[in-house]
């Protein structure tokens, strides 16, 4: 079953007197358990696509079904609920709260939706940071901070992990560790979508969606290694 299915998804906005066509007629489907990389140069529209898929933004036109539910037309409160229940976000800049410990940063989403079940310990084990749980972000390396952000993205047991340039601020060694972590999570069945302009990172996914000038150009399937 497709967890994500879009039909002719468009996002236009006005900048001064001109209309920017950030995304045009994007039609795609992502199946449960896939590891997909969205690639393209800067300004190609890949972040716009990710924001739409992550329910952070609403499309100008087209349709988007997330796990069978139509997203277009939902109000902010509906989008918040969809994000809480389905999506884990990882950002390029990590966005950890500097005053909270590793453990507290991981549990931040529970502040807004506490189901009572806490996976913090297991998740920090998974990302290899259980020994650092009482540390503050300033005491961590970039790679470690990104792994905390990944644990945070997983705390609500999302169906989809969305990562926007997750290795953009990391050196190659830490980038590799983070990608390995994504592959490990994906191997356990987590649908993973990474936005990147780095072709080497993209090559590690089992499908690549290329985007250029707001249009999806190609879907390249690759066998799971």
């Amino acid at each position: 079953m497709s967890v994500i299915k879009t039909g002719k998804l468009c996002k236009h906005y006005r900048r001064g007197s001109e209309t920017v066509y950030a995304l045009q007629n994007a039609t795609l489907a992502i199946e449960a358990g896939e590891f997909v990389a969205i690639v393209g140069p800067s300004g190609s529209g890949k972040t716009t696509l990710m924001n739409l898929l992550g329910c952070l933004d609403t499309p100008t036109s087209g349709s988007y079904r997330l796990r069978g539910q139509e997203v277009t037309g939902l109000k902010e409160s509906g989008l918040v609920r969809l994000r809480q229940e389905n999506i884990g976000f990882v950002f390029q800049q990590f966005f950890l709260l500097p005053t909270l410990t590793v453990e507290e940063n991981t549990e931040l989403p529970l502040l807004f939706r506490d189901k009572g079940k806490r996976l913090t310990h297991e998740l920090l084990e998974t990302v290899g940071l259980s020994h650092r749980r009482k540390h503050l972000p300033k005491e961590l390396s970039g790679g470690e901070m990104q792994r905390v952000a990944i644990a945070r993205a997983l705390i609500n047991s999302p169906a989809i992990l969305l990562a926007d340039e997750p290795t953009g601020n990391l050196d190659s060694k830490n980038s590799l560790k983070v990608i390995e972590l994504f592959r490990e999570l994906n191997s356990k069945g987590l649908t993973t979508i990474i936005v990147t302009h780095n072709r080497e990172i993209a090559a590690m996914a089992n499908r690549t969606i290329s985007i250029s000038d707001g249009q999806i150009e190609e879907h390249a399937l690759r066998k799971t290694p």
Binding site: N51, G54, L56, D57, E76, S77, V80, R83, Q84, G88, F89, F91, Q93, F95, L97, P98, T99, L100, E104, E107, L108, P109, L110, L111, F112, R113, R152, A153, N156
Partner: protein, 385 residues
């Protein structure tokens, strides 16, 4: 982890800014608390002072009622006198229980300080049955009674000589008046005749203290006294009213200063929280992305604001209580009339009300930044520079 602890940690992240904002609130609330406490204490002390006058009303020579009240209550110079005949006439009026001549005037004592001298006779003492005098009242024309505070201040004891600049007469301290907690602690007492002679006013008095048989008849007696040529009557409630009128303008001024201080401190909170929202735009975007709704963000920012102002309120109230004596001294310096008792008294109701005001400040000042933060679009917030 709770909203409260996230908000608190966020405030601690910008320690200097938070501390300065908190200080602003503390100053505003300290002023508010002191002012409200002062109003309560002032009313109580004033009534106490009036009750301790020992008279229901006073007759004085016609003149400025403000001046008369000030003279009656904490001493002053009135050059217009009443005479012994006035006392006799008033004493003979119906419903008058006693009418006692009082003489009050001011001299410079050797230390350069003005001293208010009050002349008393036996009937005068009868008005103050609660007085406790160590030693004797007056043994001769050279006797003086000092209030305990003044005796300690000048190092004089029973039997000491007492001199007044420019006066040849040498007085002897025959009695020490124990602290009364009223304006009586501020005068020097000597026999009525001696005081009158000292100011070349033999047979004259500055006021006649009147006690009534029946307080309900006060207006009738007032009318009779006012009918005497060049005499005016002041009742206790008039004195209270006069002092309150004097106080009203001072109170209006202080009220406006307090209101301005509190408003400025609220603007400080608004500014501080709004700046912190702008600085954290991307963090707020992230929080929305990981599942925070508009209400959650609103609550987080609002709690921060209320936490800041409530702590400011607690600090302000504590500081005002700690510095109560200092504030009281400053107020005595600027007020047109200050009674002798404690002007600022600690009252839990006033502390609670001040704290409530500080919380309301946080609620009001934090509402706009909280609304701004809650309405940020997550996508735009994350992208913002």
């Amino acid at each position: 982890m709770k909203f409260f602890s996230v908000a608190l940690k966020n405030l601690l992240r910008r320690r200097v800014r938070s501390a300065l904002t908190l200080l602003g609130i503390a100053v505003g609330i300290a002023m508010l608390f002191s002012f409200m406490s002062f109003n309560a204490g002032y009313q109580a002390s004033l009534r106490q002072d009036l009750n301790r006058l020992g008279a229901h009303m006073l007759a004085i020579a016609k003149g400025c009622p403000y001046e008369a009240t000030a003279m009656v209550m904490h001493g002053g110079v009135i050059e217009d006198y009443l005479t012994e005949e006035h006392i006799a006439t008033i004493r003979a009026m119906p419903n008058v229980k006693t009418a006692v001549g009082m003489f009050m005037n001011q001299k410079i004592v050797h230390q350069g300080k003005p001293v208010i001298i009050q002349g008393l006779d036996e009937a005068g003492f009868a008005l103050k049955p609660w007085w406790v005098i160590e030693g004797e009242r007056f043994v001769d024309a050279n006797s003086v009674i000092l209030p305990a505070g003044k005796a300690t201040e000048t190092g004089l004891t029973l039997g000491s000589e007492y001199r007044i600049s420019g006066v040849d007469q040498v007085f002897t301290v025959t009695g020490i008046l124990q602290k009364t907690g009223s304006q009586d602690d501020q005068f020097i007492y000597m026999p009525l005749l001696t005081a009158q002679r000292l100011f070349n006013a033999e047979g004259k008095v500055t006021s006649v203290a009147i006690q009534l048989e029946d307080l309900r008849q006060v207006q009738a007696v007032v009318d009779l006294v006012q009918a005497l040529p060049d005499v005016q009557a002041i009742t206790m409630s008039q004195m209270l009213g006069t002092v309150q009128t004097l106080m009203e303008s001072a109170q209006a001024l202080i009220t406006s200063i307090v209101v301005v201080a509190v408003l400025i401190s609220a603007l400080g909170v608004l500014n501080s929280i709004l700046t912190s929202v702008f600085e954290r735009t991307r963090e707020i975007g992230m929080m929305k992305a990981v599942g925070a709704g508009a209400v959650d963000i609103f609550a987080l920012v609002w709690i921060e604001s209320i936490l800041l102002t409530a702590s400011g309120g607690v600090v302000g109230i504590a500081a005002a209580i700690g510095a109560g004596t200092l504030i009281e001294g400053a107020l005595r310096g600027i007020l047109p009339f200050a009674p002798a008792g404690n002007l600022i008294t600690f009252n839990p109701d006033i502390a609670g009300m001040s704290l409530l005001v500080s919380v309301i400040l946080g609620v009001v000042a934090g509402a706009y930044p909280a609304l701004r933060a809650s309405q940020l679009s997550p996508m735009e917030a994350i992208r913002s520079e």
